[in-house]
């Protein structure tokens, strides 16, 4: 067993319990903690003070970029590189670009949303210290796991454990960081 500690995990049985525990953990002054749940719990993001996710902006940026690139591509290919009169229409006009550019906006924005989600969540990752713990499998089933990280300034192996016990957490374990 290595000496490095990732944090302390505690198990809760319902979203209500973990939400109340999270409020206490925040009120006590911890900052580097997270809650692992089988589904998103509404209200938890507010308790954790999470700001509006940047995924929307990544998506908008990618979508707008794709739109502009396709307009540029159509201008370059049909009006500049190989100008060709089709049906007596101008070489380049805005309406003709709209449909392909709009379709590619959807493509770009969708790829942006997925990439933004993965990037901001630092996924894909090959390993996570929590995935070593057998009890952690409950977090994808019916358990709600609160983890206080060792990086936290207030973290103290015995004090933090006591707090989690007081809050009603069960199966409190130290999570080792083997990296």
């Amino acid at each position: 067993m290595s000496d490095k500690i990732y944090g302390i995990m505690a198990e809760f049985n319902s979203p209500g319990e973990v939400l109340r525990a999270a409020q206490k953990v925040r009120d006590v002054g911890y900052r580097r903690w997270d809650v692992f749940t089988p589904f998103p719990i509404h209200g938890l993001d507010k308790v954790m003070g999470l700001q509006n996710s940047l995924v929307g902006w990544v998506s908008l940026f990618m979508g707008a970029g794709a739109f502009a690139s396709v307009v540029g591509l159509i201008w370059y290919s049909n009006a500049f590189d190989y100008p060709l009169i089709v049906g007596g229409k101008p070489m380049f006009s805005v309406p003709m670009t709209f449909v392909p550019a709009y379709i590619m906006l959807i493509m770009g924005a969708a790829i942006g949303a997925l990439m933004g989600m993965l990037g901001l969540n630092q996924l894909p990752r090959l390993h996570h210290p929590l995935l070593d713990k057998s009890r952690f499998a409950g977090a994808s089933n019916d358990k709600f796991i609160l983890v206080i990280g060792a990086m936290d300034k207030k973290f103290c192996a015995s004090e933090t454990r006591r707090l989690l016990q007081e809050l009603g957490g069960t199966h409190i374990e130290i999570v080792e960081d083997k990296d």
Binding site: V18, D27, N78, M96, S140
Partner: protein, 479 residues
Amino acid sequence: MSEPAINLEEFKMFAPPAELRRAPVVEGNQGLSWLTDKLSAFAEGRTPIWWWAFFLPAAFAATVIFPVCLFYQVFTGVGVWGNNHPVMWGLDIVNFIWWVGVAHAGTLISALLFLTRQHWRTTIGRMAEAMTVFSVAMAGLYPAIHVGRAWFDWFMFPVPNSNGLWPQFRSPLMWDVFAVNTYLVVSSLFWFMGMIPDFAVFRDRSKTRIRKLIFSFLAMGWTGSARQWHHYEKAYVVLCGLCTLLVFTVSSIVGLDFCTAQIAGWHATIFPLYFVIGAVFCGFGMMLVLLVPLRKLCGLENVITKSHVDKVAKLTLVSGLMIAYIYLMEFFIAWYSGDPYERWVFGHRLFGHTYMVMGWILIVVNVGVTQLLWFKKIRSNLFALFVIGLLINIGMWSERFVIVVGSLYQDFLPANWGKYMPTIWDIGLYVGTLGAFFMLYLLFIKFLPMIAISEVKGVMPQADPHHPLGGAQKEAGHE
């Protein structure tokens, strides 16, 4: 600072009377752990006989009939099909539109119903998305080989090349290339992203090492932390919005392929809308065909409840009424336009000697049979729903046949008239794509999470921190 808590008695007091209460999303709800077991049971259990009974014929069609018809056509030429002057668009385009149509209802269920916060969609959303992904893949194949020389397909993409070729961006056929490819990519991304948390469920439940490896790889290290869910939910909403746009865009563009042509019967401004509604209607038919047997065979009657199937049937009815209105308008405008060619084409849809059977199937099934869904008795009879779903698929297939072939075979010049009969290669290719679709679908339900486990859990009362079952408690004042 604590959230307002309620106890069970108070909750009952404020609940609406029994007849106004919504049916629970999952029946016989026994908690979250029970739900995880139930929803992963099919993918983890032994493969049942019925699965093989469906899989083997589908796999035969997909791996023998499909490639044989495909390769024979590609090596020989489009002439092996029945397409010939004046009917240059035959079964290949009919099937293309039909498959795109099947896809649309899947996106509508999974994306639009998410945006409108329909909780019941969580149980069928994943199956609908899978239907979308596989049917768009089938649809995309047809135009690619219909061009005749499939090895020149890359001409359609704006790639710099030594021929100095660029696509002609003013053509709706070109827009189709973008639309169908985008639809395939975006619906696959949406489908895959939705499955990431469920891959993590499968990873954590895996008993064998190989299963653990595969699902760990697919879950990409998902831990389900509140921060991850926070970004995930945002991305999900954004993707739902984009997919909803696609529902209305892709079939509109397919409709534009037709209405920009001068052919009587095609040249109508209603076409983009017509194709969207038709697509959704046809897709709901396919959804009924898939849902009704699968909920029983996979033991999911408690999850995909009768009330959910009833709601799909109601949506089918709504889209069926819209399509009936559009048929009415089409015939009315053909008469009202005073254009003799339009009148001729529409008259011959129902009373011409060549394809009148198709025209009447369209009216009887899409307008007639759909009205049965008004009756609650029919909507709660699963066998009837299955048959209606099948009939709608046939009816919508005839509709596409009537539009494509029915408008082409008698154009402006009687000397130019002809007939179209599909050949065995046309039919073989259709059978092959059907086989490939069902083969992929059966593989999907056997190996991947066929129901969105995390989403279904998220709409259970146990997931609501303000519900007594979710751990809400009455607190003695503020501390």
